[in-house]
Structures are given as structure tokens and as C-alpha cells.
Symmetry: C2
Subunit: 288 residues, 2 copies
């Protein structure tokens, strides 16, 4: 099983790691990287890609599988750019953090054949660091990789190239699960995007209370560090997530604001303990 | 240097670990444990204490140092109970998560000598697990241990027993820092209590959006786990923290609600990115 000739557009943490993982597992005969000249030079030096090409359209012309490894909105623009240059049987996938905007764009560009030509994907891989320098062939080992087929029914869109993609992702260690673009975006608004913005808002709250460099803030335990870890994430990716999943995310944030207000109003009353215990039970149920 | 005869009231994670750490470092000639009969039996079996006593007043009668290792409000009640039984030179400390209510109680009980008789303390040690079963002599190795002298000026309250306490805490690996009860509680409201309630509120938000056992929630990355870790904390301790630090915590929560609302209203606008970058810079400054 091999993806044969592969193009990876965007050689940051995600794309670079994908290239390294596919190469290590022997899943590609040739990997074309697409990005800026300097980045291509680094990727060639790392042995992540076999050849580089600065032009997205050109980079996909001979490939069987194309991975868009750029932030969501960039991937949507690139999809329109590369569409006319794709080989007839080529399959496009991506690694964007939201899926509905990308799936919608695919439907607009490819019409009825969108389900066959494009398989949106989202690997849930660590993101506090970014850039090719942090790329590793192990990034996807054990990670969940959500595929969100575009057609309403799986059987309407699963073609041989989809099975090959699925097998390749499993071969690099990903645990592949299926969802729909709409359900994916709603779920991730709560399980990924909300936690990110909580961490961001916590940092802003601390800064507004203490200012930067206040020695009082040296006094903190591990709990704070774990809650602030996500605040260090890469802004461009999150800006595009926030825009492309705005409605779901606004609902999740509003619900969170309500829960915080309820907890605040319950301080010192028996309601506080029952809320606290309810949250504790729920968090335990998520672990098991 | 030795604390000589020590009483530890409350043999959970904190008290049990303190007993084990003092024993391993050879800092006590005799450790009296105080708690329920079953707990005392377990602590004796573990070798954490030399003798057990169910009555708090009796347990302190011959000791030079007394540690209250119970939740804040319990420690305040115990302080009043043991006060008449303390030896003249004995020093009382505690490990409670808020300090102002305890310091105020000490002033009421001991009057002008409160600063000499009581040294409130707060070790910032991991707390997602609780109970004697998780106690370890290493719990305080490398952890910050905040001491909040009661008198306004350090020189008005530092007596030889305070120096011995300080040295003993350093000998079990704690990094001792000083603060005041009021400043401690304000700072910890933001750096410890707020992160805890964010995690709790996140769990409640997820439960209200998905219900328990929803398979959609199996799809999540490490970011969610780290944000939910604190939600599993022990309710009794946090109920008492919330009550004893209610004003500071309400202010911190309100500020957090405002930040979340601002982020929500900025979704899809340039303001979002600037807020995100501001939080990122601040979280980086905290690490260095």
C-alpha cells in the first residue's frame, strides 16, 4: 500500500511531520513540498521532501494525493487554486482545525464529485509549538485523526483512494475516526476551541489584575501552568479557527460565561458544592 | 536542627506527606498524629507517625510544633480548640489554601502574641488526588511554601521557633517565600482558585452541551485533558476555599467573565488577534 506521489502544501509543524511520517513508513514514492523557498530548502535538508515547488498549482500536477497543511482559510483559497491542476483520480485532504467551511468550499469547487475528490481531515495533534523546526515523524503516533466525508452517506463517497488514505493514516499511527463537517465543528468548538480561549482569557485576566512582570505571579502552582499552556498557541491558526467556526464558538463561550456566573453567585452557598461535585463526576466520566 | 516533638492534625495527602517528609529528614523526635481512629491506624502502619490521638487538644499538649493539615474552616475551629492546651513556646502552623481568615482567627484567639504563636503557611503542592493513600515524602520537594507572618512587620514576629520551622521546611525540599495573608489571598484567587473554577466550569459547560457518556466527547485532544485536570479536585477543600476567599474570588471570576465576553464579541474581527497575541506574550513572560 502506497500513496505513490504525494504533495504536501505548507511545511510547518503539521505538514513537515506528515512528510517525515509518510517517508519513515515508506508510504510515498516521491514527496513534493510546496511553500516558500527558504522553507523548501529547510525541508529538503531535513529529508522531509524529495523536491520543492513554490507554486501550488504546479506542485500538485503529477501527484496522487495532496495534503493542504495550512490554516483553514488559506487551505480554502489553495483548494480553488489547485483544483484545475489536479490529476483526474487525485485525492485532496487537509489538516484544518475546522471542517465545515472547507467542506462547503469543496462542494462549490467540485460540485457533485466533491465527495470523491476531497476528504477533509483533522488530526488532533499537539499545537503549543509550531514550525518545521518542531516537526517529527512521531507527531501523529496515537493521535486521533478525524475524517469528515463530504457526501451525506459514507457509501456515496468512499472510493478506493479514500481507503488508501485511511490505511496510510493508520500506518503512521493515527487513530482514524469519522464524523460530519457540521458535527465536527460543533464538538470541537467545545472540546478544543473553548479550552483554547479559556486559557487565552485566563492570561488576559491575570495581566489585567497584576500587569506583566509582577513578582507576586512567581507564586503559583502547577495548576496555573497547565491552564495557561494553551495560551502560548500560534495566533494565525487560531484567528482562522475563530473566524471559520464563529457561531459554534460564540455559543460555547456564552455557555461558559453562564457557568462562571452561576459559580460566582454560588460562592459560600451549598449550591457551590453541588456544582463542584457535578463537574468532578463529569470530568471523571470523560477519563474512563 | 529538629522540630523535636511534632503534632500533625489531619492525616490526608498534605498531613501524611508532611509526616513522611519530616520523618525521612530526621526532623522530629516524635510525631503525634491526630485524626479518626481508622486513619491513625493506617498512618501508624505506614510509619508516618509514632503515636496517634483522636482528641485534638490532647494531641498537642506536649508538642513543640503543631501543623493543622485540614481544610481552612476546619483548621480555624481546631485552632480555637487547641489554643488552651498548647505549651508556652509551641508554634502552630497550617497548610490551608487561604490565609486571611486563619490569620484573623489567630489574632482573635491569641491577641498580641498571635504573631509569635502562629505562622500561617501554604504549600503549593499538587492536589488532584487526595487522601493518606497518596501521601509521599516527596510531595514538598521543590514546591513553593508560602509563609504569611501575622504581624505587620517581619521583625515583630520572627522568633527562634519561626527560624526552626523555616529551616525544617527548606530541609524537606520546600522553596519558602513570604507574603502577607491579605496579599496571599488576592494573588491566589487569580493564580490558583480561578484556574480551579475555570476547569470546574468547563466541565459543567461540556456536560450541559453534550450530556454524560456522549460518544462525541471521545474525540478530543490533550488540550482538553489539561484544562479539565483540576475539575477532579477534592470538593471539601474547595468549598472551604470558596467560602474563605469569597470576595477576591468573585472579583477574579467577574474579570474572567469580562475577558471571555470581550473575546466572544471579537470573533472574526482584528481585535481577536490582538487579544490572542497579548495573551500569548503574557503567558510566555510567566514562564521565563
Amino acid at each position: 500500500m502506497s500513496l505513490n506521489r504525494v504533495t504536501i502544501i505548507g511545511l510547518g509543524l503539521m505538514g513537515g511531520s506528515l512528510a517525515l511520517a509518510l517517508r519513515r513508513a515508506g508510504l510515498a514514492t516521491h514527496i513534493v513540498g510546496c511553500g516558500r523557498a527558504e522553507r523548501l530548502r529547510q525541508a529538503l535538508e531535513l529529508g522531509a521532501i524529495d523536491s520543492g515547488c513554490e507554486n501550488a498549482g504546479e506542485s500538485v500536477a503529477e501527484s496522487d494525493y495532496v495534503f493542504l497543511c495550512t490554516p483553514v482559510e488559506t487551505s480554502i483559497k489553495l483548494l480553488a487554486q489547485i483544483a484545475p491542476r489536479l490529476r483526474p483520480g487525485a485525492l485532496v485532504s487537509d489538516v484544518g482545525s475546522t471542517k465545515n467551511a472547507f467542506a462547503t468550499a469543496a462542494r462549490e469547487i467540485f460540485g457533485e464529485s466533491a465527495g470523491k475528490r476531497v476528504m477533509p481531515g483533522h488530526p488532533l495533534a499537539g499545537r503549543e509549538v509550531s514550525g518545521l523546526a518542531h516537526a517529527t515523524a512521531d507527531l501523529y503516533a496515537g493521535c486521533l485523526w478525524i475524517l469528515t466525508p463530504i457526501a451525506a452517506r459514507l457509501q456515496d463517497c468512499l472510493v478506493p483512494s479514500h481507503y488508501t488514505l485511511l490505511s496510510a493514516l493508520q500506518a503512521i499511527g493515527a487513530r482514524v475516526v469519522f464524523s460530519t463537517p457540521v458535527e465536527h465543528d460543533r464538538t470541537l468548538a467545545y472540546t478544543s476551541h473553548l479550552p483554547q480561549l479559556l486559557s487565552t482569557a485566563l492570561a488576559l485576566t491575570l495581566e489585567s489584575a497584576f500587569g506583566e512582570g509582577n513578582p507576586a505571579l512567581r507564586v503559583h502552582a502547577g495548576g496555573l501552568q497547565s491552564m495557561l499552556r494553551l495560551a502560548g498557541s500560534e495566533p494565525t491558526m487560531w484567528e482562522q479557527i475563530a473566524t471559520s467556526n464563529q457561531q459554534n464558538l460564540a455559543a460555547a463561550l456564552e455557555s461558559m460565561e453562564t457557568q462562571l456566573r452561576t459559580l460566582r453567585q454560588s460562592l459560600g452557598s451549598p449550591e457551590f458544592r453541588s456544582k463542584f461535585e457535578q463537574a468532578r463526576e463529569f470530568s471523571k466520566s470523560l477519563k474512563s
